[in-house]
Amino acid sequence: HEKTYSYPLDIKLKFENKRVTVAFGERDGVCIGHVLLAVNGQPLSYDKLPDGRNVFDFLEERENFPVNLKFGRAKITTNEKIVLASMFYPLYALAVQLSPDQGSSGILELVTDTFKLNSSQTLTGVKFIVVADLKQSGIDQLLEKIYELYADYALKNPFYSLEMPIRADLFEQNLQVAIDQIEKTGFI
């Protein structure tokens, strides 16, 4: 969401988690939690412009206005992905514990208003999690297919060590093929 702003800036920004985020002043599609991505077309690195100036000082001075600011959702880092995946494990287990009836499994499907998450657990406890659009069909088949690919291209790979991230080209290629197929036709 790019927009030109004039002095004084009516959006309150703060520096949090190494990013400049919107703290207050939600309007015109810019929401709280959005990150300042670029100033006058120049992308930001942490809280500094490419020429090294601090963006908060830049935005304090009247002569720098009107300024074109671009806001958007923060890009999720690999570290954050690992953290989120780890968060899913105990939530999955809690679903079993808080079940009102006997014999429950963990979370198989999680529905929100913008996406759907499907998960499948193997007999050894390995979990496959797919985040998809609400209307996407055939995700159960996709999860089984991914399990097959994992067994073929990761586990049978002599250079792969267990518990480590998978870096096998064949796995990624075949995964991409399976995903393209499911997106086009809705089943495998």
């Binding site: 929401c31 959702r73 999720i76 954050e80 989120l84 968060m87 899913f88 105990p90 939530l91 809690l94 679903a95 079993v96 514990q97 808080l98 079940s99 009102p100 009836d101 006997q102 014999g103 429950s104 499994s105 963990g106 979370i107 198989l108 499907e109 999680l110 529905v111 929100t112 208003d113 913008t114 996406f115 998450l117 985040v131």
Partner: protein, 130 residues
């Protein structure tokens, strides 16, 4: 469609109301602890979903399903949370309407408007159930 149980939480996470219709498995903890655990789980699920979502979300997390039950969450703008465990036969649209009905027609009428209600405490007034 079977309904197992219903929890109502206020914005601070205190349990306002709990009722069970069918419960074949109980946890080994007291009702208060179980309610706190459930609230913690809902809170984590909401935060998990907001981080994972590809676009900005309006309502956020709404339900999850296991092989035998489905947990549905209905949250009002005042952060009042209705948590309902049902089986997997019911459609989500139906349950959403049911929970919004519970809020509008039962909670607002009999609990919010009741002069005896102390905010943050368990609701003991008699509900006429659907």
């Amino acid at each position: 469609m079977t309904i197992y149980n219903l929890y109502i939480f206020d914005r601070n996470g205190s349990l306002l109301f709990y009722h069970e219709w069918i419960r074949r498995k109980h946890t080994s903890m007291s009702k208060e602890e179980e309610a706190k655990l459930l609230y913690g789980m809902i809170f984590s699920l909401k935060s998990f979903c907001s981080k994972l979502s590809p676009v900005d979300m309006k309502q956020g997390f709404s339900s999850y399903k296991t092989n035998i039950y489905r947990l549905n969450l209905y949250e009002t703008p005042s952060s009042l949370k209705f948590v309902l465990n049902t089986d997997n036969e019911a459609s989500q649209q139906e349950i959403r309407e049911l929970l919004s009905g519970v809020y509008c027609q039962v909670y607002v009428e009999f609990a919010s408007k009741s002069p005896m209600l102390v905010p943050g405490e368990i609701i003991t007034s008699n509900f006429q159930y659907l």
